[in-house]
C-alpha cells in the first residue's frame, strides 16, 4: 500500500471522527433544546369558535383595523368618517 493511499485512509478516519463528533454534539444540543423548550399543545381549537362573540378580546388590534377600514371607506365614498360606523371586525 502506497503513501497516498495510507494518507487517504488516515484522512478518512479523521474526517469520520470529526463528523460523528460534530453531529453528536448537535444531537445533545437538540435534546437539550427540546428539554428546555418542550412542546405545549395549543389550546383546543373549539374554544376559539366561542371567542368572536366576546368583543373585548385584543381591543387595540381590532380598533386599529376598524380605524383603517373606516378611513378607507370614508375616503372611497367621499364622506366624513363620522357618517358611518364599522361595528366589529373578525380576524381571519
Amino acid at each position: 500500500m502506497n503513501d497516498a493511499l495510507l494518507t487517504s485512509i488516515t484522512v478518512s478516519g479523521i474526517a469520520i471522527l470529526v463528523i460523528f463528533l460534530v453531529l453528536t454534539i448537535l444531537i445533545f444540543t437538540i435534546k437539550l433544546l427540546v428539554h428546555l423548550l418542550p412542546y405545549k399543545a395549543p389550546p383546543p381549537q373549539p374554544r376559539k369558535a366561542q371567542q368572536p362573540p366576546a368583543p373585548q378580546n385584543a381591543p387595540s388590534d381590532v380598533d386599529t383595523d376598524i380605524a383603517v377600514i373606516t378611513s378607507v371607506m370614508a375616503s372611497h365614498l367621499s364622506r366624513t368618517p363620522g357618517n358611518h360606523q364599522v361595528i366589529n371586525v373578525q380576524s381571519r
Binding site: 484522512v11 470529526v18 460534530v22 453531529l23 454534539i25 448537535l26 444531537i27 427540546v34
Partner: protein
Amino acid sequence: MELTFSGAALQILQSTGFSAINSGQVIMLGVACVLLYLAIWKKFEPLLLLPIGFGCLMANLPMSMMMSTDDGGLLNFFYQGVKYEILPPLIFLGVGALTDFGPLLANPTTLLLGAAAQIGVYTTLVGAVYLGFDLQEASAIGIIGGADGPTSIFIASKLAPHLLAPIAVAAYSYMSLVPLIQPPIMRWLTTGKERKIKMAQLKPISQTVKIVFPIVVTIICCLMLPAVTPLLGMLMLGNLFRESGVTARLHETSETHLINIVTILLALAVGSSMTAESFLKLETIKIIVLGLLAFCMATAGGVLFGKLMSKLSGGKVNPLIGSAGVSAVPMAARVSQKVGAEEDHTNFLLMHAMGPNVAGVIGSAVAAGVFLSLFGDPTAPGPESHAAIESVVQSMVQR
C-alpha cells in the same frame, strides 16, 4: 461580380460551425442530447439536468462563445457565480427555505444516520486515490456520495475546478437513480424481520425549538468547520426565514423565484464547462464508476448503522431509514417507505426516514467542511491555521 458573390458565399460557409467542428464537439453534442433525453423523458432531476444539458449543447457549438472559458461570453459571466462560489450558497438558501427539520428534531439520534451515510464519501475518497487522483480531486469526487448537488459543485469548484463538469453531472444523475440503486442494497443488508419493524410515533416539537435550531446549528457547526459557513449558514438562514414566521416575504422569494433564477444560472454555467477537453477523458469514466460506488457505499453505510441502532435500541429503529441518510431529499426517504411497505403495507416509515434524510444534508455539508479545512485554499480559512494542517498532512504523506 458573379465570382465574388459565389466566393463570398463560400467564405460564409467556411465561417459556419460546420467547418470548425471537431469530433470531440460532436461527441459532446451527443452527450448533451443524452442529458436532455434523461431529463425530459426519464425525469432525471430535470430542473438541473435540462439546463445543464442545454448549456453543454450551446458550449459545444463551435465558435458560439458559450464555453465557460470564453472570456466575455454569456455563460462565462454566469460561470463567475460558480467560480466565486456565489450561486451554490444561494441555492442552499432556497433549500433551507424548503426543508422541514421537524422530523429530525423529533428524533435527533437520526443525525447519526446522516453521519454514517458519509462513509460512502470516504470509501470513494480512498478509491479515487487508488485510481490515481490526488487528495483534493479525490475529496471532490468523494462528495458525490453526499448526494447533494450544490455541495458537490461548491467543493469541486474549490478543490478541483477542472473536474467540475463530470462531478456535477454524476452527482445529479445518481441522485435521480436513487430509487434504482438503493432498494437491492437495502434488501440485501436487512432481514425481513428488521424491515417489518414499526417505529414509535414522532413527538411534536415546539415552534421555538424549530426557530432556535438553525441558529444553534450555524454557531456550532461553523465554529467547528468555518469553511462550510457559506453553505451551511445560508441553508440555515433559509430555514430561519421559514420557521421564524415573521419573514414570510423573504421565505417565499427564497423558495421560489430566487432559487429558480439561481438554478438557471448555475446549471447553464455547469453545462458550459462540459467541453470535450474537460469531459472526454478517462477521468470522467473513473468519476462515473466512483460516483456509483459512493452512492452504494453511502446506502450501505446508512443501512448498516441503522442495523446497529436497531440492535442497541432493542428493535425500536427500522434499519431501512438508514439509507435515507444519503440526503437526495425527499427521494431517499420515499425509497425507505417503499421498501418497508413491500414487507408490510401498514408500515409507514416515511416521516421517520425524513429525519435521516435532512440529516444527510447537514452531514454532507459537514463532510465538505472537513475537506475544506484540510485541503481548502490557504488564503481562505486563515493562512496560519492552514499551514498547520498542511504540515500535518505532509508529515502523513511523507511517512
